[in-house]
Amino acid sequence: MGKVIVVTSGKGGVGKTTSSAALGAALAQNGEKVVVVDFDVGLRNLDLVMGAERRVVYDLVNVIQGEAKLTQALIRDKRVETLYLLPASQTRDKDNLTPEGVEKVIAALKSAFDWVICDSPAGIERGATLAMRHADIAIVVTNPEVSSVRDSDRIIGLLDSKTLKAENGERIEKHLLLTRYDANRAERGDMLKVDDVLEILSIPLLGIIPESMDVLRASNVGAPVTLADGRSAPALAYFEATRRLKGEDLPVTIPGEKRSFLGKIFGRKAA
């Protein structure tokens, strides 16, 4: 049985799709079977970021409405053969996602893949709540600024009340992924500090992804950043986050921060 991850944030433009693709590719590079599901019906982007936009025939809505089989809608990545994409529909809207249909699709994917990554749309409406509904693990993507942090707080509240796990009285595993972290702006003090974000949201830190041109460059060529340039700073940060996701205890480094001698010894405790 595979694990279902939802990548969510509440706010738009913080890096959900980029992170879904990057983490999916990083997990698949280790040989595990991964499917990334785009839940942003009507505003799909994941196909572009993964460079599969010209190969989309059927989508999630077709599968839910019984117009196509799941195997017909899945697109295999050309670079990593254990990485798949289930695209969203661009022409329909989110009302076409039914709870029963989503449940069926997720159950089928869980039995065939090691990891099912659900790329949630922004907002807290139907698309977002259905994307998180069946998750075992939630990755909350947050930028170090107040509006993003408050929206993430709202999403964490929903994860603790509206998911199937929460309704069954279980705890959903939640991780914070701090994205678009700008070391220069942090130094000038015009961004929230990592510790402040952690204090407000109080969930374990999965990783800090630095703001970088490499991310933009990667999505322009249609490749997850972890495939486009595996040695770039954001890619390395995503690889580390992936290892933590699988249970490894790695210290988190804040990009651009000069570490003291003691800091080097003790490191930063992650999660």
Binding site: D153, R154, G157, S161, E199, I200, S202
Partner: protein
């Protein structure tokens, strides 16, 4: 022509809860009314001046039947102030309003049922009186303990008494308590204490960064709060009609 008065004093909005008698009708309604008449005959004035809420959850009647039931009750001097558990299709503008979120309270004691009651009608009315006040004052005031962080968009509503939060209250979250509010963490959202008209209620927190605080309907926004209190452990109380705040410890 009437001029609109612009007054600096804001309108006070307060929550208040009342104890109502919840009546649960059963089908067939005619038989149930006979039993109700029987109860009323045993104890004249049982329903007099008591607010009554009709609980029709799961009762299979339509709007017309419900309207007739309400009329039947009002002809018996039972005045229905609200209807609980109704579907929208069962209600109309001419009917009592829908009520939700009712909380169970101690049962009303029905008048005693024996021949004695017939003989000593006055006694039985007395036996239906509520439990004497001095007995109630012995029981501790109810309180609610929330042992998690209250996230943005979440709302804790507890008009019965004090609320203690072991965790923080996020920006955009709110806590409404009939009594005092204690936050063992940062208070970043809204806290409204004494919401049922308790001017003695206070707000305590480890770190005061609230967006809004209110006691007994008087409120203060973050902008009006003393900046030196920000981020400190503090307590907030009401003196007359002014909200006071001080650093704790």
């Amino acid at each position: 022509m009437t001029d609109v008065l612009t007054q600096p004093r804001p309108i006070r909005l307060k929550g208040r809860s009342f104890l109502a008698l919840a009546l649960t009708p059963e089908l067939p309604v005619a038989d149930w009314l006979v039993r109700l008449d029987d109860l009323a005959a045993r104890s004249a004035g049982f329903f007099l001046r008591r607010p009554v809420v009709l609980d029709i959850d799961g009762l299979d009647i339509d709007r017309q039947e419900l309207r007739e039931l309400v009329e039947q009750l009002s002809s018996r001097n039972v005045r229905v102030m609200g209807i609980e558990g109704a579907r929208t299709s069962q209600l109309g503008p001419d009917m009592p309003p829908a009520m939700t979120d009712g909380r169970p309270a101690a049962d009303f004691e029905a008048p005693a049922e024996s021949e004695k009651a017939d003989k000593h009608a006055i006694d039985s009315v007395e036996s239906a009186a509520p439990v004497p006040a001095h007995q109630q004052s012995v029981t501790a005031a109810p309180s609610l303990i929330v042992s998690r962080t209250v996230r943005s968009g979440q709302s804790i509503f507890f008009p019965e008494g004090d609320v203690t939060i072991v965790g923080s209250v996020g920006s955009g979250a709110e806590v409404v308590a009939g009594g005092s509010i204690h936050v063992y963490g940062a208070l970043r959202g809204r806290a409204m204490a004494g919401s049922t008209g308790n001017a003695e209620a206070r707000i305590f927190c480890r770190k005061l960064e609230a967006e809004l605080i209110a006691i007994d309907g008087f409120y203060k926004t973050a902008e009006d709060m003393e900046p030196e209190l920000r981020g400190k452990a503090g307590q907030i109380w009401l003196e007359g009609e002014t909200i006071k705040a001080a650093i704790l410890g």
